[in-house]
Symmetry: D3
């Protein structure tokens, strides 16, 4: 009986070692992740009972994905087996001025071909308190969007808090399609999470005076965005991550939270990046944990930002940190002194 | 201007290191191969101008496949770029009583969605002497079968020798479908290559008194199979590889050749296996090289068998041996003494 | 609610890559195993609900051991946290005439310092059908022996079948001590498992006319040993594994089962060894699965032997095979032909 | 028929993994590179037909060098086979205050013992537009210098543009010898490339007020150097790379171009270094591509600097980037945001 | 006959590759180090005859520790064999805000159970000039503290210079115990080395106005600490390392030396960290070398700081640099330009 | 003060991992070995004081060679530093019918350019009992041959036993040259070691009725060869290794010893090969140890053969086994049972 349920795709991530480019690689390191799976692992690492709902093929590759979730304590009983293949994404690590590069090979994945009948939400949500999904899930196909909608409705009806990370992916759908489909989910969403681009790409809500590529972020602009989102969809909370990309090696990382009419801005961390993939997901995981644990808004935000700051220092998609480690950083110790 | 042209799919092969099972693997070694690509690399390694014709996606993964072919000297100018993805197969190395295991993830590959218009066979075959394909290529889809048929007709018309390795794959099509489609190609084929099962699976031609799983092979039975094949389709030559599987670690390896009405049986090699995948392809590569080089039938057969014996000792899909190395083994030196 | 419960130590195994000796190694591959943990993973791999009971330190190394068990589907809720350290064993892979070498560094491990109060057997066994332990567990210390005895008594009282693999370890205790302590457990044991030496080392029951080092095993001798064991302790079944060590690279592997007054001898497998550690444990896992599943005696024996034959082809302590793979081998296909 | 021809040595580079020092290494990563080979790979990566001319031994090590060039699309038909050995260099990656260290083991390499008769420049240059060499090539021996001179003369006579990267190597020859020999080539050179030290070391032309070790570079000083070089040897263009070494981990990277009487200075990139070897060569490759493509001077310079900025983020000697990737950086996006 | 003798523990260090966390690691890189062993390797690398005194188990793991010391030229004849096990520590590399983490598993190590009778200091010190130990050694147990005291007395009596790095380890003993025991050694110590925390933790001598976690260090405060230490224990020299931890990836590194009544402060190095473990030990090694070689105080300090700056760029516990490399950095060249 | 002194070349051996061919390798495993160095490591592993005399370049690569010898306990004080480079050999591991392949790159190595003045044999041999060299050493050049001759004469004069492994290398010199030069050393040699081909290749002494490639060895033939060698050169002992090459994976291994007029033939071991390089050297090491230890002839032979049997199961050039391990095998336990 899980406390939190996440629904989405889990893919095999194949990455060349170190800073090798795809064409130089003779081997690939494999982990298994995805937007919602990453949130789920974060929550399990914090000690929550977190279940991941998806569909993977009934072959050893699908089994390996299940095993990786199990390894980190995720409840995998609702990872259905069937369908054709596990989605794959190839991930090349960037450095300095060279960006990280992701090549998706996810079409026809088992989850993308799943349908409503695959998931019995009444059973899945029994006893749960929170449901999380992202904009990637419905983008996988109309059938998955339909399953997501049913999940949202059931979750709402059963009294769960629902969170959604907008997570716009331009190679899965257009802004137009995204806006239309996502619009249908928003009535069921309580907590909305977005990065500095999502609100505009999905709902056309834009931060004024912001130059993302150049790395400048305006607090005032994000206040406006958050308020517009909350007002339009009646969210109880809106969180926006604020990434300043200095280079592929160095980012500044912060976030804001709009909750109960108040704007909160977090501490800003200069991060020297080990692996930046899953950074946003780890923010979501931290935020859900903190809100579920009843943290005050500013603390919840600081927990989520500190957690996701640490994610940038960890290899792979997942954020392997404990509550205690996050709290140490929240408390101000980012000095990196050896812990013996 | 290639001497030999091969047409088919090239896939990324992902294999756990050593003898790890899929579920144990945290990384995969990547090579790029396929039935016809493997033949093509063999031929390039023997010093022939060999071109590989296929379609790969216009992304870094497709480029990596091209690069691997280039690395070993294959003419890649007709590796078209486009389509959605590169086919993948996962390959787990067996040992002793545990068989090697292959999980295919090849659907919707660029080549499987290619059509006739992608290949200008008149240009491709200009100056060439030999065309090779296998039963895998038409099994990828009706469109690819149509392209293959056009290739066969054009090759025949332009005076090339055409060879076909029957290479039946039960997860790509049924015996019924295979028989029907392959039947249409046979009038254009001069040299037919098969393993100990293919003739039955594709054309219902069966070796009498043979227990393949048990590892017993009857010479007389294979004489019958070869003759029936040659008679039915008017092949100038029929070659059949004869594998006795003692275990995943040890096989006996031999072959027969029926040519000009005479039956030739090769020396039989007890092989301690390093990597058995591509064994049959390396036989095809050796045979094409030897026949193109004008070897007498028995010599051509012995060259092909010695070449493919060596393949079993080499990692990956490809047979990286030189003519001189094959000849040394043909001449009887299988003692494995260090060469300084 | 687990069907099978196993109790014992889990250690970190550190092994140099390939065939490197300890002194040559600059890195070690890490897996987490132990006699009972290995049985537990086997059972989970067959789809049973299997729980592992032990104690590991409350640090990241202990967590890693828990994670490995979770990864393969073991129920880890009774892996207690506390104590000083995780036991370690260093394992060097042998080849040909050079034996594998194990250096234990397990003293003061968390489990060796656990005591009865750490384990609430009533709760642990709720709903379970089978309890398994080995002679290693009580050898870890008198406190652990006491906990084991309590487990045996509780299991018996709650109606579970109890199995014990004698598993004598000369560096943990003497034959005298072992005999005395193990004697106390036997009244609660239903199924006794032993290798070709254990009965003599623990209980002084010797197979006549057997030269273990020389690799000769006499069926008659083992019949006598099994009968003596069963008669002395009133076991419902006695299983003895029969290993003929030709070299570190090649073994013959078989077993016998004495049950209901009948002697069963299995097929004998010549195995080319990938990793021989955990071979006996995988026999135990196979036997428990087969007996729990109601297989007839001969079939249960053949399942256990085929399963453990396959273990010898797999890296690490655990036996990562499915029921279907074991059945394929049981059915006679040990040819190792590639499975596509 | 190549558009660009490069002539020089290709060596095996052996590097310990990560930041290990030579004495700590038990294995070495191998790539194959050299000043001119690196330029050649850059050009092939940009889609030009680029041929590399050299001599490598007729053994598998020489073949491996050829294969690496083929892998990245270089025309290798003029990589002659013969001679004794392939040159080797050992390369240890520095970090922070610890410099990278190169140990050369290149004497008696096949190319260093080649002579004029090995290269038929008339044939090699047929249809080509550009010939590139560096100061390393003639430094390998008087015979190679003679071959280089013949190449220059033939190239000039056949109307090719000739570029030379001065690339002074103090362990190959003295400044005196270098000055004397290089002087003889300059009449045939159109485009001269140098780093911040070469002009002084080879021709005694010094930038005023410049402290290289301290990392300060004076624009005015380099204007003077470029003009003096151009005036003395009648170059159509002089390019000078401007490296400010903050540490082995961080450099500032820029360049200037003097062409048609105008001085152009590029944008300056702060680079966090992955692999700095081949940085200068990648500048040469970018410049040749841009000039051949008819870019205006400032654009050509910016292309070359952006290209070589990216090289510093890539493992190995070669610059594996596409024209499109370079243009993205030229256009100002150095933010390193993930490209999906 | 060694010039310098170091006495302490040597442990196996097991570290996940790259930036993997313990729970993600499937293999560990092994080196062998410890506070005094690291100093000893530094000295051997500078060309001194340096002997390491300890006790390791008489098994292949103990042998591997001896071999690692031998590999780098340490005199190992007084590495006694016996006892139960080699101490182990697990070491996870931090990055940015995530600190490095050390999990010790050193209890019951051979050295911790050694006693006075294991070491014949008269013989060991014959001909030696310097004896070095750290606060870790006596913290291993009262028996080891007794052996250390005997070593100190013998060294003093035989005219050796004695140095001690306070090296407080809170998981080995309390400040109270440390203060009491260390107090007993100080009369025999000539040169005292400490980091910015040790003096307070061991002797309650505190630097005023210093915020270590925040990374601010006050020169005046450290002057006071050094003077108090020297005055209380009559040291001839006191050296204090001054680390400013910006993050786990970036530190500033400097030190001070109080000698002959004069205060010396070194240059401060901003270091981009490869491996920070052993940083303090490498300072000690540098200082001992420089003082033994008769360097003036400021030069000795600068040598030690430059040496230990370089250590931060080297993998593993040991500082693998030569005198010439240290001198190059001392002389001001920290530009990291490639050395060919 | 060494008991045994060995003189020869030490090279860096670069080997692709596993069974990769040279052209497939992107990295090479490095060890440092050579005929005499390997003998020296064997002797150090048996606990003897063994010194290795050679010359290596004064750079980090030469230092790494010294370090590897130190690591295994060899006395390296007479490994002189100077000259140009360390010899290299590339080594590809064979399997089954594919032979191992060695590509030498050893010309101009430091030792090949050393001369008599580099070695002060009087000092080197002080206190020693045995001097060993092989036919490789004088083959490196006339200057090295001269140094070897001086070593032989000095050794003889100082009362050392001198052993020589004929070790003919056809790519270093011709049989004619070898015969002539080696003839000059033989008067100083007491113990002559040879493989099944050397006597013929060097001195034209041939075993009758022997087909080496085919793997048949005649005892009678080798008796003749040994006796002729002993009679011609007045050796006190002649040992001949007898290798039957079944394949690169499986050999039979035995040897004979002719001593004091008696012929001794050893047990024959069927070996499944891990790394066959250094097999002969490990025989020499075992023989020298056993003879120095005063073993009776048959025992000395059995020790040497068992030792070298084990070498075939160990990666790298060196034989890392202890006296106790060899004796266990001598005593008949080749069963490879796990040693716990």
């Amino acid at each position: 009986m899980a406390q939190v349920v996440c629904f989405g795709e889990i893919m095999m991530r194949l990455a060349p070692g170190g800073y090798l480019r795809f064409e130089q690689a003779d081997s690939f390191e494999a982990v298994y992740g995805g937007g919602e799976a990453n949130v789920c692992v974060s929550l399990a690492n914090y000690g929550l009972d977190a279940a991941f709902v998806t569909k993977v093929p009934a072959n050893p590759i699908g089994q390996a994905a299940i095993n990786e979730m199990r390894r980190y304590g995720v409840d995998t009983r609702y990872m259905e087996r069937g369908g054709e293949r596990l989605g794959i994404y190839f991930c090349e690590k960037g450095a300095s001025q060279r960006p990280s590069k992701v090549v998706y090979d996810r079409s026809n994945s088992a989850i993308s071909q799943a349908d409503k009948a695959d998931f019995d939400w009444q059973t899945i949500f029994a006893g749960a308190k929170w449901f999380h999904f992202t904009g990637i899930t419905p983008a996988l196909g109309d059938n998955v969007a339909a399953a997501t909608l049913e999940a949202c409705k059931t979750a709402k009806a059963m009294g769960l808090t629902v969170s959604c990370d907008l997570n716009f992916r331009k190679n899965l759908w257009t802004s137009e399609k995204a806006g239309k489909v996502m619009n249908g989910f928003m009535p069921y969403v309580d907590v909305c999470i977005a990065n500095e681009e999502d609100a505009e790409k999905v709902f056309g809500i834009k931060a004024a005076d912001t130059d993302i590529t150049g790395g400048k972020l305006s607090h005032e602009g994000y206040r406006q965005v958050a308020k517009q989102l909350a007002d339009r969809f009646d969210f109880s909370a809106v969180a926006i991550t604020l990434r300043e990309s200095i280079s592929a090696s160095d980012n500044n990382w912060a976030a804001m939270l709009y909750k109960d009419g108040a704007y909160h801005f977090s501490r800003k961390y200069p991060v020297h990046i080990v692996d930046r993939v899953g950074g946003g997901d780890s923010f979501g995981g931290g935020l859900i944990y903190a809100l579920l644990s009843g943290y005050p808004a500013q603390d919840a935000l600081e927990f989520a930002v500190a957690a996701s700051c640490l994610k940038h220092t960890i290899e792979g998609d997942h954020n392997h940190v404990t509550v205690s480690e996050v709290k140490t950083l929240m408390a101000g110790d980012g000095s990196g002194r050896v812990q013996r």
